[in-house]
């Protein structure tokens, strides 16, 4: 019994140490699993101490440093757009082979220098890595100059956090020579830099190009698709250059790329009208067949964007990304938000009739609910008020009816009946009498 008691006493005394060791081990294990770049960075630093004495340590510090940096670059880009870089890098050293084996294996070998030339090594490996790894499935469908520009601008922005020496090597040895004598590429890089400055390069452009690749690969790229990628870049650049209050096109409706940007930026709109105008625009664009709808705002509008997203209940709009980031506005950093929705509404010529009918049903059903609510409050509605209700309806198709007065004529006719109706049942009866689509929708 004394022995058992002694053992229990001993365990009680060392319990704190055991727990501390266990927690530390678990923490290290978690870091090793989830933050492999940290482990590699530490290991590289330790090996560097022995690099002067051992060849394996020298190779190890070079390889682990590059691997850790590329792992963190890959994670950073993939955080902005999922799967933009589907894999990271493992350095495999080659010391000797035979000409026959080398030719048969068909692989490019990159030369890496001593660890003291860290910046040059990272840039060399980056040149070999990025053109292969960045949105690989979409590359055949992107204009070659746009693609080259993306590599250069993404390269610059991702290598910047790795230190001034790395950035300096990249700018002096890669970016500047690449632009020398190629004014078209220079113009594209300037445009892409502006787009990147507004946070749209990875989060919108690469996302859309990736979607394009997933849709088309491995089909041969039609010429107009490749041209469209240049037009899409120009569209985003126009948006990036937009001055406060300036009107720019917010929808890109190409044959292959169809994107709508819904900017939540005007207090004079969101203040009095709330989320409705933004949802209207999203629904209208969904109906017109855009593939992705991006809600974007910055500064004090970030909460408004979230509010719009919370109010969006269309089952065919699937939220695919919500990204918060910092961008520079008038020289000051501000918080921005971008929420992306995939449009799952089936569109196409064969679906047009069904799509229109579906929207008509949604429009009338939604209108009925609103009028129902108003009539339940015993509100006597004027023709203008009815027109206002119609205009505020998210399903109201402004493009199909450019003149709101004409567009609301049918609803105004209903409104005449509704005006004299005093109860919800009478409103329902009035609408049902006038439109069999509503009757079918309600059944």
């Amino acid at each position: 019994m004394d022995l058992v008691r002694d053992i229990l006493d001993f365990l009680a005394r060392i319990w704190g140490y055991v727990a501390a060791v266990g927690i530390t081990a678990a923490g290290l294990f978690w870091v090793a699993l989830t933050r492999i770049e940290w482990m590699e960075s530490w290991a590289s630093t330790v090996l560097k101490l022995f690099a002067w004495a051992f060849r394996s340590a020298e190779r190890g510090t070079v390889a682990l440093d590059i691997q850790s940096q590329f792992e963190s670059i890959t994670k950073r880009i993939n955080h902005e757009v999922e799967d933009a870089i589907p894999y990271s890098v493992k350095i495999a050293w080659i010391t000797e082979t035979t000409p026959e084996t080398f030719i048969r294996e068909g692989r490019v070998v990159v030369r890496l220098h001593y660890h003291t030339h860290r910046a040059r090594n990272i840039v060399n490996a980056y040149l070999a890595f990025l053109p292969k790894a960045l949105i690989p499935i979409a590359r055949p469908y992107i204009d070659p100059r746009v693609l080259r520009g993306i590599e250069l601008i993404v390269g610059k922005s991702t290598l910047t956090p790795l230190g001034d020496d790395v950035l300096s090597v990249f700018i002096n040895d890669v970016l500047t020579p690449a632009l020398a004598g190629d004014d078209r590429l220079r113009d594209m890089c300037l445009a892409l830099e502006r787009v990147d400055g507004k946070g749209l390069l990875t989060r919108v452009m690469l996302r859309e190009f990736l979607r394009l690749g997933l849709s088309y690969y491995p089909r041969i790229a039609p010429a107009e698709l490749v041209r469209e990628t240049v037009e899409f870049m120009t569209f985003l650049d126009d948006l990036a250059r937009r001055q406060r209050g300036q009107q720019v096109l917010l929808t890109f409706r190409g044959r292959h790329l169809r994107v709508a940007i819904v900017l939540v930026a005007k207090a004079e709109v969101f203040g009095p009208f709330g989320v409705t105008p933004y949802i209207q625009r999203a629904v209208r664009n969904a109906r017109l067949g855009v593939h992705t709808i991006y809600f974007m705002g910055w500064g004090h509008n970030v909460d408004a964007v979230r509010q719009v997203a919370r109010s969006l209940h269309e089952s065919y709009l699937i939220k695919v990304a919500e990204k918060e980031f910092r961008l520079s506005m008038d020289g000051a950093p501000v918080l921005a938000i971008l929420i992306a929705y995939r449009n799952d509404l089936r569109v196409g010529p064969d679906m047009a009739a069904e799509r229109d009918r579906e929207f008509q049903v949604r429009f009338l059903r939604s209108l009925l609910q609103e009028l129902d609510r108003l009539s339940a409050e015993s509100v006597s509605l004027s023709a203008d008020q009815i027109a206002g209700v119609v205009r505020r309806n998210p399903y109201y198709d402004q493009d199909a009816h450019p003149n709101p007065d004409d567009a609301t004529q049918q609803m105004l006719d209903l409104g005449i009946l509704i005006r004299v109706a005093e109860t919800a049942e009478e409103v329902r009866y009035a609408i049902n009498r006038e439109n069999d689509v509503v009757i079918r929708a309600l059944q």
Binding site: R55, E58, R59, V62, A63, Q67, E71, T74, K75, P86, Y87, S88, V89, K90, I91, A92, W93, I94, T95, E96, T97, T98, P99, F102, I103, E105, G106, R107, V108, V109, V110, R111, L112, H113, Y114, N124, A125, L127, A128, F129, P131, K132, A133, P136, I137, R139, P140, R148, E151, D173, V174, P177, A178, G213, Y217, P218
Partner: protein, 85 residues
């Protein structure tokens, strides 16, 4: 995340590697030209070694040459991870 192999030769092993594929003497003698820009490649400027059409080619460290080499590799296998890695 999946990792792809990037083949690399360290400065320590460069001479040995070039000897094994039969390029060291030509490189030292200044008989190797960059497959992209056509400049003579030296031990200082050598950046890439790659096979193409049953020949072993080299490219210098100019960024345009590096880009060309990686793009050639891409053209041979668009959208796949073969070729470069």
């Amino acid at each position: 995340m999946k990792r792809e192999r990037l083949l690399a030769v360290h400065d320590d092993d460069l001479a040995n590697f070039l000897r094994s594929i039969g390029l060291l003497e030509d490189l030292v003698a200044g008989r190797l030209l960059c497959s992209v820009c056509g400049d003579v490649v030296t031990l200082e400027t050598l950046a890439f070694i790659y096979p193409e059409h049953d020949l072993i080619r080299v490219a210098c460290s100019k960024p345009t040459c590096a880009s060309d080499v990686t793009n050639r590799s891409l053209e041979s296998s668009p959208g796949t991870t073969q070729g470069l890695f």
